[in-house]
């Protein structure tokens, strides 16, 4: 508390304070207290026959008049006598201000005159003038504290030349702030008396007042301390607020507030950086300008409008550079008294993550769709992943084998290889195209090519291995077949060369035998020998011509006599048919001629007849039928129908489906699995078709191949033809040779 002398004096009330002359100041908390005190002040003046000047607000004037009348004063009379003069405080104040500052001359005119007028009324009767003013309170309320003090000083100056008792009224509400302590001293200094507000003034007993002073002193002290604490707390709060604002502003996660209409109210740096805008380009704009998808935007606003929270809502925002950023939005609404104030959104950029996710999914899809088995295992050899290719290749489902040792697919005799492989992996070494054997769930073995790469974690430590397993069983078969094919082809070429060298001497011998028979007497033994020699020679000629005859290279369709070819083949296979006790049933209807590549057609029938013979190791019937006919489904397409049937054991329905696939064979020891594949290829090339029927029931079993070959083959494409032809020729060569 201040120790200022005048202040202490001002606050040291005297018992006659209410009625003392001079310039007093009245503080009040409640208007009714002011009116009460004022009515005593003015009332006692009027009652004593003095004059009164009241410069107050209209409300205070009215209340005062009512109160005075209630005290039994005839206010009408007082006004009539000119002893009660009222002025509106605001109007009067307006008159005496120049540039918001009280002007001495104007004060004298506006206020001084009225005081003089009141004095004139009571002059000579030894009466006084009591005045009340609250223009200072109006200035004070506007915060024009200096102007109010100045006005007080003008009143004091007026008091030097005029005799009157003045009271000013200040509501305590005008002194509620901390800095007002000094001002209240200043105000008090301009007055001779201070009338404290009702809380104190209403106390009548001296000891009560002293007690009240002590109480007030204590309170003041406590308040002062509290104020200091509060000041400290406020500073701390400000520091904290600044820190929080800084924290939000510089947070790595984008944040923004959006008003109910979509206007962006605030956004932090991370949010602006995320989208590449500066503050002016973003804050103040509507959020919808930045959303790539209108419906998404609407949905978000609707959800938030219903006061729902968003958790990881996916949206796409437009970057300043035109690109789209994928984000996840977390948001709720800040509500105050049930009203939507603004949203509080966190914007998390997941573009990179989504791109990475997509890349990962894409890779996963590639891995999953691969025909190769792609599996991974840890350093203990435990399977950790197993793709679709692996499921198909090994027959183990992923859930069956993940977590189990990889040795499940390694043949027992190769188990000792696994530690070697694992050691290599630990050293970070890669194994490429290592050919080995693996085993399927059903025990079937596969020839595989393995590529094993170490899998490393982000620190470069080897944590396992990725294996790509390619099934090369088929490749091996093809390789073998190609090798065989090549071998057969070279044998074939050699045989063809030899055969051509043989043909000339054969011709000579044939002719010589003919001449010898002609020139030797019939019936003799020598003649019979010659005839036998001729018979055998015919067979030799037949064999060389049929197997290695020069028709084989015929590259253009020529007229082919189907029955002649069939007869040739049956002749060729005569010995085998005879050896197996197979009866041949031939049924040819008429002369059957088509235009075809003779060598290839011969190949087709040769394959079918050879298969039929193989199907009847213990004898049976070979039925060969040929007739002019037309296509099964198209009677406009004429051609030849040939049926080659056996009475063998038949083909299982399961195998029947695979008959025309390459490398499918039931004759494991001797078959290449290519015969029927080639056969169907040739038939197709000639525009024909091939069908198979088979029965496996004992007693009526057998297999029948039915062929249709059109009379005129479709014209082959010019270019493709030569390749096809050479391909077919190679195959035909090899097959022919194998038959020979």
């Amino acid at each position: 508390m201040s120790t200022n002398r005048s202040h202490t004096a001002a606050l040291n009330p005297k018992s006659d304070a209410f009625d003392s002359p001079g310039h007093s100041v009245q503080f009040y908390g409640d208007d009714s207290y002011l009116i009460e005190e004022l009515s005593r002040f003015i009332g006692s003046a009027l009652g004593a026959g003095d004059a009164a000047v009241v410069i107050a607000t209209k409300a205070h004037q009215d209340e005062l008049v009512q109160r005075l009348q209630a005290r039994g004063l005839d206010m009408t009379l007082a006004v009539q006598q000119g002893r009660f003069i009222t002025l509106d405080a605001a109007e009067t104040l307006a008159k005496l201000l120049v540039n918001g500052w009280p002007d001495a001359r104007r004060f004298a005119q506006a206020v001084g005159r009225v005081i003089e007028q009141a004095q004139t009324t009571v002059q000579g009767k030894q009466r006084k003038v009591a005045a009340f003013g609250e223009m200072v309170a109006l200035l004070w309320a506007e915060g024009k504290h200096e102007a109010a003090i100045c006005l007080e000083q003008l009143w004091n100056e007026l008091a030097r030349t005029h005799s009157f008792t003045l009271r000013c009224g200040y509501p305590m509400a005008g002194f509620s702030e901390e800095g007002h302590a000094e001002l209240i001293q200043k105000v008090c200094a301009e007055h001779t008396h201070v009338i404290p507000s009702e809380s104190y003034a209403s106390l009548l007993k001296e000891e009560e007042r002293l007690l009240n002073i002590v109480y007030l002193q204590q309170k003041a002290q406590a308040l002062q301390r509290e104020m200091a604490e509060r000041k400290k707390a406020q500073q701390a709060l400000q520091v904290r607020e600044a820190e929080l604002a800084n924290f939000l502003e510089n947070a790595v996660i984008g944040m923004h507030w959006v008003a109910a209409d979509g206007t962006i109210l605030w956004a932090n740096k991370a949010e602006l950086d995320l989208l590449g805008y500066n503050r002016e380009e973003y804050v103040g704009h509507n959020i919808s300008e930045f959303h790539a998808d209108g419906p998404v935007m609407e949905d978000i606003l609707q959800l938030l409008g219903r006061n729902e929270e968003l958790h990881g809502y996916e949206a796409r925002l437009r970057h300043k550079d035109g690109s789209l950023r994928r984000v996840r939005i977390h948001s709720d609404v800040f509500m105050q008294e049930g009203k939507f104030v603004h949203t509080r959104c966190f914007t998390i950029d997941v573009t990179d993550q989504r791109d990475a996710d997509e890349a990962r999914l894409r890779l996963a899809a590639i891995v999953e769709s691969s025909d190769d088995a792609i599996v991974s295992k840890d350093l203990k050899g435990i399977v950790t992943s197993w793709n679709g290719g692996a499921e198909r290749m090994f027959g183990f489902k992923a859930e069956e084998i993940i977590g189990k040792p990889i040795t499940l697919i390694i043949p027992p005799e190769l188990h000792q290889d696994e530690p070697i492989i694992l050691n290599k992996i630990r050293r970070g070494e890669r194994t490429q195209h290592f050919e080995t054997v693996r085993v399927k769930k059903n025990g079937e073995r596969l020839q595989v090519s393995l590529t094993i790469s170490p899998v490393k974690d982000d620190r470069g430590n080897v944590i396992g291995a990725a294996k790509i397993v390619r099934n090369i069983t088929e490749n091996k078969k093809i390789e073998e077949a190609l090798r065989l094919n090549e071998r057969l082809a070279s044998v074939g070429r050699l045989a063809a060369t030899i055969a051509h060298e043989i043909n000339n001497p054969l011709e000579a011998v044939t002719n010589l035998l003919f001449l010898a028979k002609r020139d030797i007497a019939q019936g003799g033994k020598a003649r019979r020998h010659l005839e036998m020699a001729d018979h055998e020679l015919t067979r030799v000629a037949h064999i060389t011509r049929q197997t290695l005859g020069f028709y084989r290279d015929n590259a253009f369709p020529t007229s082919v006599d189907i029955s002649e070819i069939l007869d040739d083949l049956l002749f060729l296979y005569g010995r085998r048919l005879h050896a197996r006790d197979i009866e041949v049933v031939k049924q040819y209807k008429g002369k059957i001629e088509i235009s075809a590549l003779a060598g290839e057609i011969r190949q087709v029938f040769s394959n079918l007849i050879a298969n039929a013979i193989d199907a009847m190791p213990d004898g049976g019937s070979l039925i060969v039928r040929a007739a002019n006919s037309h296509e099964w489904n198209n009677s406009n397409l004429p051609g030849a129908r040939v049926i080659i049937a056996d009475t063998g054991s038949g083909i299982d329905p399961e195998n029947r489906k695979k008959l025309f696939q390459p490398f499918f064979t039931t004759k494991k020891e001797v078959g290449t699995g290519l015969g029927l594949w080639i056969t169907s290829g040739i038939v197709e090339k000639h525009g024909g078709s091939i069908r198979v029927r088979s029965r496996t029931e004992a007693g009526r079993s057998g297999t029948a191949f039915a062929l249709f070959l059109p009379a005129i083959p479709p014209r082959p494409e010019e270019e493709g033809d030569s390749t096809l032809r050479s391909h077919a020729r190679d195959l035909v060569n090899s097959e022919r040779a194998s038959v020979a």
């Binding site: 043909n503 000339n504 054969l506 011709e507 000579a508 044939t510 003919f514 002609r518 020069f550």
Partner: protein
């Protein structure tokens, strides 16, 4: 029937001539195409039987030359070698179509092709 047999293998040409003459033909043997063309105007042959692959003029060229000189002369080619295919294909592309027999030719079949009554001796 007048026949010229062309073959660079004398045994084949001679034996064939022998067989044909035995059936009442007038056949002569020559060992190359040039000789065949030299003999033809004197022989006025009804038939020329020629090997295809021969030193000097090949059978196909010989046949073509004979056809121009004697359009009515029948020509039968016979061959035992794959190489003859190319020559025949070429001739076919040029519009020549020949009767072709693969060696060894059964003499009986040849005789019947020529329309000669099959000798009882031929068996």
């Amino acid at each position: 029937m007048r026949i010229i047999v062309v073959d660079d293998e004398p045994v084949i040409a001679d034996t064939l001539v022998d067989i044909l003459n035995g059936e009442g033909c007038k056949a002569v043997a020559v060992s190359d195409g040039a000789s065949a063309l030299k003999w033809a105007p004197m022989m006025q042959p009804d038939v020329v039987i020629s090997d295809v692959i021969m030193p000097g003029m090949n059978g196909v060229d010989t046949a073509k030359a004979i056809m121009q000189l004697f359009p009515k002369c029948r020509i039968i080619l016979f061959s035992g070698q794959a190489a003859s295919i190319d020559l025949l294909e070429k001739a076919r592309a040029e519009g020549y179509q020949f009767e072709v027999l693969a060696k060894p030719v059964n003499p009986g079949q040849l005789l019947s092709k020529l329309g000669l009554p099959k000798s009882a001796l031929s068996g």
